[in-house]
């Protein structure tokens, strides 16, 4: 394992400056996506959950493309020779991609979101003054609602980075398909496993979604009073495992894979 801070900074600088135009265009496209979707639906009074969904979708999509681009050189021979032959360790290359994806792109994308949302919010507030129903729902997305989107972002981009290192051809498409395949499989497996572990009576359902505490609720119950939530204790381990440990494992696997990558 070789790590040299000077080389690491050189790598970051090189990656950013060589691709600055591409990154700015990508962020502009992401801003455009948010602008169109938010303008369309916020003007119709769409609520906070919708805004959160749009924020998360844009973040995940943009992040997935960005993470894939970090290793796009590996998809063709001339570029992969240049990338693999750059005098830096594979660890430094992975850490540079990790830093850019998780600590540079993420704040930049959040910045772009508010760069779009704040003027749009002001504009709509001025134009919808006569419509109290819409005005009531018109609020800026609060920071506390970023959390689940960011957790999903970390998972998605880490998986896409692994896919970009693993698959040489059409890595974005293949990694996306595998990501959703794994997500669906894990979801179903999780559901069956929790059903089997908990052995709840037949009139109860187990909510085993990602990033939520384990909860049970009565099939007939339509209000919260019938829901039992086990939000404390060791069950939180699974939540944190999914949110933080899985992305970490993806980056470690990507590092191992990069060390073994050849130009054949």
């Amino acid at each position: 394992m070789q790590f040299n801070i000077k080389r690491f900074i050189l790598l970051l600088r090189k990656q950013i400056l060589e691709n600055k135009r591409l990154y700015l265009m990508g962020l502009a496209a992401l801003g455009g996506f948010w602008l169109i979707v938010l303008a369309t639906f916020m003007s119709q009074g769409a609520g906070m959950t919708f805004q959160q969904g749009i924020f998360g979708t844009g973040l995940l999509l943009g992040g997935a493309v960005f993470a894939n681009q970090q290793f796009s050189a590996l998809s063709d021979i001339p570029r992969s020779i240049r990338y693999l032959h750059l005098p830096a360790s594979q660890l430094e290359k992975i850490l540079a991609a990790f830093t850019l994806t998780c600590f540079v792109f993420l704040p930049a994308a959040i910045g772009v979101f508010y760069l779009v949302e704040i003027p749009l919010f002001e504009l709509l507030r001025a134009r919808m003054a006569m419509n109290p129903h819409i005005l009531e729902n018109l609020r800026l997305l609060p920071a506390k609602l970023w959390v689940s989107s960011i957790e999903f972002y970390w998972l998605g981009v880490s998986f896409m980075a692994l896919g970009a290192v693993y698959f040489k051809k059409a890595s974005f498409i293949k990694a996306t398909l595998v990501f959703f395949g794994v997500l669906i499989f894990t979801q179903l497996f999780n559901e069956k496993l929790t059903d089997w572990l908990v052995q709840m009576p037949p009139d109860y359902l187990v909510n085993s979604d990602f990033f939520v505490s384990l909860s049970f609720y009565k099939k007939s119950g339509s209000n919260g009073s019938d829901t039992i939530t086990l939000s404390a204790g060791w069950l939180h381990f699974f939540k944190y495992f999914q949110s933080y440990f899985t992305p970490f494992i993806c980056w470690v696997l990507a590092w191992f894979r990069l060390r073994e990558t050849t130009v054949a």
């Binding site: 070789q2 040299n4 000077k6 080389r7 050189l10 600088r13 090189k14 400056l17 060589e18 691709n19 135009r21 063709d76 021979i77 001339p78 570029r79 020779i81 240049r82 693999l84 032959h85 750059l86 005098p87 830096a88 360790s89 594979q90 430094e92 060390r259 050849t262 130009v263 054949a264």
Partner: protein, 282 residues
């Protein structure tokens, strides 16, 4: 110093590309790697540069295992592939962003090289022609002063004056502690530069000899008629001045080697060439 010790490598399990390959390359030389398509030239270059991993035996470059691709090794090796893509930055920006990775990079030397090739450093890499890109990349590679410089078909895409300039630069860049390995089909472009020569045929090193040794072992000449020479003739082809021939020297006075004739002789009569190469020199 580059050592291949019983190296085995294959792309597919059944067909070994190299099996027990042994080869030593010494510093201070420009090695010319010749061979027909599929003979394993590019694979050999990639094995020594750490882009492919030996599956059997071992390969070392200045004591490093290339497969580990350690930064110390990579900063001492520069690989110019046949085809490459450069980022959308100017030549000057490219140098600023990449020179830091090569501890022996010499900016003055780089400026001299790009002046020689008449490449303004404010030009964008992506807007250069293929030949200009190759020149700019070669200038950077030479100025990086790595102890191993590998070039795959370096003269492809260069115009005639550029080929001469390129030869001059390479010749000037050769030093006692540097190995230059050039894989080429354009033998005539580089025959004044290359010494020694390695000819690969069917994944084997058929010829590995200096130009002096080649001129001692083989006789190159032009004859009007090959009648009576059939027994000795390794290869012949018509030329403007007559018929160009290559034959075993058999103690005759040495002649100036023609690498293209030698290469064709090696393909035409590999066993004969192998036998001639195996005879100890006096």
């Amino acid at each position: 110093m580059i050592h291949f010790n019983n190296v085995g490598f294959t792309y597919r399990r059944r067909n070994m590309l190299f099996d027990n390959l042994n080869l030593t390359l010494k510093p201070g030389c420009v090695y010319g790697l010749l061979g027909r398509n599929g003979a394993g030239k590019t694979s050999l270059l990639r094995l020594m540069s750490g882009l492919l991993f030996a599956q059997k035996g071992n390969c070392t470059v200045n004591g490093h295992n290339p497969a580990k691709r350690s930064p110390d090794f990579l900063s001492e090796v520069f690989f110019i592939p046949e085809e490459f893509e450069l980022p959308p930055v100017t030549i000057r920006e490219y140098v600023n962003l990449n020179a830091g990775f090569y501890p022996k990079f010499d900016l003055a030397q780089f400026n001299h090289y790009i002046d020689e090739f008449e490449l303004p450093d404010h030009w964008k890499m992506t807007e250069l022609s293929h030949g200009q890109k190759k020149k700019a990349f070669a200038c950077f590679a030479l100025a990086a002063n790595t102890s191993l410089l590998i070039m795959d078909e370096p003269t492809n895409g260069l115009d005639i004056p550029s080929k001469a300039q390129f030869r001059r630069l390479i010749a000037a860049a050769v030093s006692e502690d540097r190995v230059v390995v050039v894989s080429t089909h354009q033998v005539r472009d580089l025959d004044k530069l290359i010494d020694p020569v390695i000819i690969l045929e069917k994944s084997e090193v058929l010829v590995h000899a200096s130009m002096d040794e080649i001129s001692e072992r083989f006789s190159f000449g032009i004859v009007a008629d090959t009648a009576g020479l059939e027994d000795q003739l390794l290869y012949s082809e018509p030329s403007v001045r007559g018929i160009a021939t290559i034959m075993p020297a058999n103690g005759q006075a040495s002649s100036k080697p023609d690498l293209e004739l030698l290469f064709n002789a090696a393909l035409n009569k590999p066993d004969e060439v192998r036998r001639i190469m195996a005879v100890p020199l006096a």
